[in-house]
């Protein structure tokens, strides 16, 4: 197998023509073959995404509007977190190249140092992707609203903060007159989806009823994403009517007039396939990053124990480096076609 000179096989059995094809080792060639096949798999997924998107052009969400949050900082930072993730992955690719270069000089300490940096970068990326998923699943403050004519719209504008709930009717945990100040948005969202908000009165989990005291929203507008009886995809409903139409749905008492976030069936951002492609493509890619990190850790253990140094070359680092660069390459394309364009 690749890596070190074999003492058992004679050269006529190994390579009939005396030299190996392309003057490269078996292992490296096979890694390239694997990478081409995996590249075709990802390309197939991205092309399928392209097809679905072009078939639903007007209803498809705009990348910089869906992804505009930073951890701990809230929203208003279009595409910044995804750009940071791209930067982290590119830098981890660079540390990998540096590890390979150190291997070519038989510099064991250098290889160890750069390989550890690559592994850390990889973990940061997977962690960031996990945060992105969690944020996507959780959803925005407004969610997506179904209007009276059956059309669906996303909401733009600034959500006025909920100040408190004032309990009007007692339930199992709250007495009349209690003022609740914790977990407000969370309870509000749950209640809206369940149809438990009517005329500004929310029915809480314990059965008590409370008045919602909320600051006014401003700059609201609705953008239609699914055709209904009167409104068509692409229509924009201005502030004058948007607020009333949105709160009509919120206060209707009918469940699921407003939905938040994403689940296996629907998402608040656009057509069903949007969520499905998001989870599948980024998930499949994230799985590749994760497996790459595990492989890097295993190889790191080999470097530390001196296996490759004894062998006389660090070609194994080069081969895992190829896999790691491939993972970065796929991300560059996913970033462009999913988030940017």
């Amino acid at each position: 197998m690749a890596g070190h000179a074999s003492k058992e096989i004679d050269s006529n059995t190994l390579w009939g023509g005396k030299i190996s094809p392309f003057s490269t080792s078996y292992g490296k060639l096979m890694m390239w073959f694997f990478l081409v096949s995996d590249a075709l798999t990802f390309s197939g997924l991205l092309v399928a995404y392209g097809f679905t998107r072009h078939a639903c052009l007007d209803a498809w969400p705009i990348g910089e509007e869906t992804f505009n949050s930073m951890p701990f900082l809230g929203h208003g930072y279009p595409l910044l977190y995804v750009a940071l993730m791209t930067f982290i992955l590119i830098v981890s690719s660079v540390t990998m190249v540096l590890a390979v270069e150190a291997g070519h000089r038989m510099d064991r300490k250098g290889v160890t140092k750069w390989l550890i940096a690559t592994i850390i970068g990889g973990f940061f990326f997977v962690g960031s992707q996990a945060w992105e998923w969690s944020h996507f699943i959780h959803g925005s403050e407004f969610g997506k609203v179904e209007l009276t004519d059956g059309s669906q719209a996303i909401v733009k504008g600034h959500f006025g903060e909920i100040e408190n709930f004032k309990v009007l009717e007692a339930g199992k945990h709250h007495k009349k007159g209690d003022v609740i100040t914790e977990d407000l948005l969370h309870e509000f969202h749950h209640a809206v989806v369940a149809g438990n908000v009517e005329n500004g009165i929310i029915t809480l989990h314990d059965g008590s009823k409370a008045k919602v005291n909320k600051k006014a929203d401003h700059g609201m507008s609705l953008v239609i994403k699914k055709d209904g009886g009167t409104h068509k995809v692409g229509d924009v409903i201005p502030e004058s009517k948007a607020c009333d139409m949105y709160y009509e749905a919120v206060n209707s008492g009918t469940p699921s007039r407003v939905i938040y976030g994403a689940n296996l069936e629907q998402n608040e951002y656009g057509p069903q396939q949007y969520g499905q492609f998001f989870f599948f493509i980024t998930g499949f890619h994230g799985f590749h990053v994760f497996s790459g990190v595990i492989i890097n850790i295993i190889i790191l253990m080999g470097v530390i124990s001196g296996t490759y140094h004894k062998r006389g070359h660090y070609e194994m680092i080069e081969k895992t480096g190829l896999y790691w660069h491939f993972v970065d390459l796929v991300w560059v394309f996913v970033f462009t076609f999913f988030y940017l364009v």
Binding site: L57, H104, V341
Partner: protein, 122 residues
């Protein structure tokens, strides 16, 4: 027993510390280039909205820049540019032929489907 008939290509790539310095400089230069391109893409992406007149230009610029980034990663980071020409072509040419054709077919179909759906929509 020493084998004298096996060519250990893995050992051919070893280089000295001085040569290593030059290589590292090149690696950092390419890193700076990739970072700059990504930064440009993000700034343009967040400033120029999809509704603007320039969107088509920007969109194709993104795709072009991404292909440039990909070329640098494959040829320099993955060392495909240093391999034998035949290997380079063997990896890249079939891939590009397949993918270009696939993209063309898919976009044509998707636009046809989109037209059909919007015409049939009530």
């Amino acid at each position: 027993m020493e084998r004298d008939d096996i060519i250990e290509y893995s050992l051919d790539v070893h280089h000295s510390e001085e040569h290593g310095k030059l290589l590292r400089k090149k690696i950092w230069k390419v890193t700076a280039l990739l970072t700059a391109i990504t930064a440009l893409e993000v700034i343009l992406g967040s400033q120029i909205k999809q509704s603007s007149d320039y969107w088509q230009v920007i969109k194709w610029l993104f795709i072009g820049l991404t292909l440039i980034k990909a070329a640098y990663i494959v040829l320099i980071f993955m060392h495909l540019g240093d391999e034998k020409k035949t290997l380079k072509y063997m990896v890249l040419v079939p891939y590009f032929i397949f993918i270009s054709y696939l993209i063309y077919i898919i976009i044509v179909e998707a636009l046809a489907v989109s037209d059909a759906w919007t015409q049939n929509a009530v």
